[in-house]
Amino acid sequence: MSEASHNAKASRSAFQRLLQAASSQIARHSSSLLLFMVFCVVIAVGVFMIGDLHTATDQAQRMYAGSVQGLRQIGELQYEAQETRRSTLYALTTNDSNLQVEYADQSRKADGLVTEGIAQYLAGAHIPRELELGKRLQRDWAAYLKVRDEVLASILEGSTKEAVDMDLTGGVPSFDRVRQDLEEVKRLYDEQASEQLKVVGLSSRRSVLRLVGVLCFTLLFAIASVWVIQRSKMLSALKLAKMQMDFVASVSHELRTPLAVICASAQNIADGVVDEKEKLAKYGSVIGHHSRQLTELVNQILLFASTHEGRHRYALRPLQTSAIIESVLTNTRELAEEAGFTVEKSIESNLPPVMGDFSAICQCLQNLVLNAVKYGGSHPSIAIRAFRGGEDVPYGEEVRISVEDHGIGIDASELQQIFEPFYRSPVVKAAQIHGTGLGLPLAKSIAEAMGGRISVVSKVGVGSRFTLHLPASQVVGAENAVERVAQL
């Protein structure tokens, strides 16, 4: 049960960490994301426009091709039908049997083309009216051909009068019917073409409206995006400028205070106000202490600058956690004692060594400890614990070193911002707690350089716990690291 709940807890915390990471990334790259969104919208609009244009072009092409083909089909039918009859009549104009046979042949060739054309029309008919018309045309054409055959036979036999009579009584009416059928085919085709034209026109208008709408939307979206991006940049710039001003103000104060003490002490010494050896030693100690503070502050600023620019190089080696903690405690003992804080240490046994730069890790932890002291509030108690990482660690083991205080705590909305350079919480500034705003960013960048991270859990009025996560080192022979720390 406890294992299950432990697993669930670990999953939730991992999910929360993922969300936090995503949110921070989004916040950091909001402009790029917005630009990417604009780009995607433009692409989508472009695809839509191309698709719409393509559809419209297809429709128009189909309509044109259909028109051309239909016109050609009808024209050929009408021409060849006339040619069939014409050739039959031409056979009457000559008494030469050879010419008569030739005209008869011409007439048959033409009627073959008409028959073929009607069959094609029937094959392509897709509405009942077309089918009915095509069948009627086929029937009437067959009836005319029957009369035509008899007329041709009479002409060739030499019975001209009979041929004329047959044509007048049978040929002319049946050809009339064929002609009317062809006219109806043409009318039907015209109607279909008009309807298609209307459809294409409507479709075209709709496409235009859609395109206009989409383009307007795209334009507005682009304008809005640009405005947002510009504003965001401006706000970021303003914020950065403010933070830099705050940093300058804070650094100035941090620099001015010890410098004032140093100057005052030096002035007193120089003025001979202080002549006793004990007092001189005391003044010297004060000057030395504040000089070290100044040096520490300058080093921190310089270190931040170098890490921010990526110029700082770390010497990674396996390190024992206990050694690190001991070094940190040693470096911060004086400050803690002066502030009246008690530091509780707890180191889990058999912790694996961690891979890192000893001085950098110590600097990182020192910043955390200093913050715990600075923001410890009315409960002067700090706990430093080192323990093995849980099952939620995705890649191998890790060692966690937490620094816990019972100070003023951090509002949940500021938990991400506190790691931004020069950021100082308004609560802290209102409480006139001075700082550079570089401690946590520096600690974070050091942790990330070591392949780890810093996590924070805090509650306003209760306190905060900062945890440094360091991946365990796989290097054998880590006992040598203690000797090296000791030498340093």
Binding site: S97, V101, D149
Partner: protein, 177 residues
């Protein structure tokens, strides 16, 4: 006068006997000629014609215009090729037993007396003959067997088809001269 009459009668009888004598009349294809025939002449009719077989004698009556209608009632329209064409020469020789002049005169006289209703049609090529026969239900014509296609019907003569060795109508090499 009587002696003269008797003499003339004997001369006439002798001439008659010479004309009527059986055997190889002029124009009959000799067995030797048949044996060395190059091609057959097909007698073609319209596809709707019910005639499938005809004797040589009946064919002669048709080609001399002595028959005017087919059994199905359609008028017979005789189709000939141009004078001088080898096929026409063969037909005149083997069927009509006449030369060109006699054939023309026979039809002219037939039209003159009213016995022949329609004179033959004349076409200049086998293709023309074939197309004419195709178009006219009562037409009958002739082409070389190699010029026949599916648009016309070939009739048998004396029960022999155009591919039979005993088919009587042959177009011989000498007809082309």
């Amino acid at each position: 006068m009587r002696r003269l009459l008797a003499l003339l009668t004997m001369v006439g009888a002798a001439m008659l006997l010479l004309e009527v004598s059986p055997g190889t009349a002029k124009g009959d294809p000799s067995p030797a000629a048949q044996a060395s025939a190059d091609q057959n002449l097909a007698i073609i009719v319209n596809q709707t014609n019910t005639i499938d077989d005809i004797t040589l004698k009946e064919l002669r009556t048709v080609f001399l215009g002595e028959r005017s209608h087919w059994p199905n009632g359609r008028r017979i329209t005789l189709v000939m090729m141009d004078p001088g064409v080898p096929e026409r020469k063969a037909i005149l020789r083997d069927i009509c037993r006449m030369n060109e002049t006699e054939f023309s005169r026979h039809f002219l006289q037939g039209l003159f007396t009213g016995e022949v209703f329609v004179s033959p049609k004349t076409l200049s090529s086998p293709t023309g003959v074939r197309k004419f026969v195709f178009n006219v239900p009562g037409a009958i014509g002739y082409v070389r067997a190699s010029d026949v296609d599916g648009t016309v019907k070939v009739i048998r003569i004396n029960g022999h088809g155009v591919d039979d060795p005993e088919y009587p109508l042959r177009f011989e090499a000498r007809d082309s001269k």
